[in-house]
Symmetry: C2
Subunit: 395 residues, 2 copies
Amino acid sequence: MTDIKPVSPFPRILLGPGPSNMPPEVVAALGAPIMGHMDPAFTAIMDNVRLMLGQVFQTRNALTIQLPGGGMAGMQAAFTNLIEPGDTVIIGMAGYFSGRMLSIAERLGARVIKVEAEWGTVIPPEAIEHVLRREKVKAIAIVHGETSTGVEQPVAEISKLAHRYGAYLIVDAVASLGGVNVPVDAWDIDICYGGSQKCLSAPPGVAPITINERALQAIRQRKTAVPSFYLDLTLLEKYWLGNPRAYHHTAPVPLVYGLHEALRLVLEEGLEARVARHRRLSQALVAGLEAMGLELFADPNHRLPSLTTVRIPAGVDDARVRKALLNEMNIEIGGGLGPVAGKIWRIGLMGYSCSKVNVLLVLSALETLLKREGYRVPGGAVLAAAAVLDNSGNH
Amino acid sequence: MTDIKPVSPFPRILLGPGPSNMPPEVVAALGAPIMGHMDPAFTAIMDNVRLMLGQVFQTRNALTIQLPGGGMAGMQAAFTNLIEPGDTVIIGMAGYFSGRMLSIAERLGARVIKVEAEWGTVIPPEAIEHVLRREKVKAIAIVHGETSTGVEQPVAEISKLAHRYGAYLIVDAVASLGGVNVPVDAWDIDICYGGSQKCLSAPPGVAPITINERALQAIRQRKTAVPSFYLDLTLLEKYWLGNPRAYHHTAPVPLVYGLHEALRLVLEEGLEARVARHRRLSQALVAGLEAMGLELFADPNHRLPSLTTVRIPAGVDDARVRKALLNEMNIEIGGGLGPVAGKIWRIGLMGYSCSKVNVLLVLSALETLLKREGYRVPGGAVLAAAAVLDNSGNH
């Protein structure tokens, strides 16, 4: 017996660092009839997920799959498979998620060299090269779009350095894949993982990942066993690509359906158009925030289109504003993490949540609540944003 | 651009080793509006999941949560958190999934002592005691309901031995939780994980797990760091129980909704009634299979109610029969794994799939197809099963 009532979630407008709202097609797919994880009709769906992920990652890598866990499982898998105890790893650190990379690498017994930059700025490639010149480095890891700072890191340049010095490159594209350009092959990224629930607007809980042949060879030639069975990429390869397929885990079937539909919609829109939409709408958001007199946080030359960070003005109560947004207006935005907790807000425009109407809505809501907080709102934020928008539909 | 069509899965009747079919309330919950993973309205749902999981596991353990990965993530998490390099672990081996425990434990640097029994039989507790008498053992691991053999292992007896000799007990209840009695506190299990997609009939992809205070102390006192960030139970504890909660991963929100509804339905039915239903309907299935002249595989004194294993008669083509079941009748049953591949079928009656009508259906379908294979079907299987069924509703 239980007196617990059925789940009845609020219809939030998700403008935080993720998850984003899901398109109706994705929502519908979640409720499609469940099939067994070895059913040929299901594995045919997996094949299509793999094909579409290849297009979204812009790669020809055969091992381009979805992990049975969220974005953090992607990070865990990348390190767990590639890194062995004693390996030297450079981690470009300028935000919260690179801190997690550090924790993961250290747990695996890696020797980590941190190349740090202030939160809100980019990692200088020359600082990485400085280390590469004197150390034998197995891998460099970097977060492409740092959700904690709203900065897009210079992956292409760092990749060139990595390969010049014979190091592998691990890239976290959780906050960028599907909304910001992540050309895995053109940038020569060895292992790249993304998030399902951000710019792809698929449900959270499954992480897209792609591994090139070079990295796969390194994994196959490890001296020690991969310490995780669950995330062993050579076993996952046998389930996704084997002939016959070898059972590894029971796939999270509804999430695979959801990812399938989300990817289909991404490709229907076109990757280029989608990236342009994220860029344009984030520019509109920035114009609106600046018209409000707010100061942006991230380096203006390296702003991540999918996530905009803005400083909370003096005298304004972070928690009170976000609570009012959530409770009165059903809008979620993100607060700051770690050293910038209470100091910045993080406004995501990701995937299906990245729409004209949401830009106007979040600006109006912030104007309203900042005024209530006693902040002197200049007004005109909406019109400033509208000036950047074009006339081509809701997106 | 893509010419890939929307997902349109077949409405399978799932009578294999899992996933099982989901009740309509669970399906509906999957499509409920998505919320952020730190939204108080969402974390309230997590709290209810935790409360209900406690009732289903029959435990007062505070750390009773759902992992962001499937049943194999449960197995991975149990070993990854409790076991350190050099620890001695006894694994009771009498099926496919205990083989996976072996792989996981070895990858973590454990010294594994296998206590083996033939597939289809139980692990003799005295064989375990034999080892405990001469070795200092950190933990014993056993699969309660082996999905590969259809045997229920004597967990209560092994638990007494484990604690008498100061070893921790890890129990895999993936195929039993919610359909077979798994009283975690009464049996004094230290770490127990279950499956969402079997007797609970929740979506696959989230593993219920419960850890008692004794095991948690051992984890807190590890000499080495838990090698996985993603499955570190002390971090998961801070997300599920922290005040304030500490962000650890983006929860697979739709799956949490689905698990919530599935657990609610389990408690609405009542655990005892549900266990009785699984027992009664599996007896009906067994009666039908035996009336067909088929030979059961598992030790008759230790049959797992949620999964029945039956030998494929000589001259009958395993693959052809299962293909016809799937393609002509939309019914999934399981084939054999490992050494019994091609030799047995595995028929699951789990959760929502465990219904009168499904018992009659699978028996009728098998009669039809066995006849087609040239097997001399005595007839009367349905009536033999019906004789075991009572008159109290579809279940």
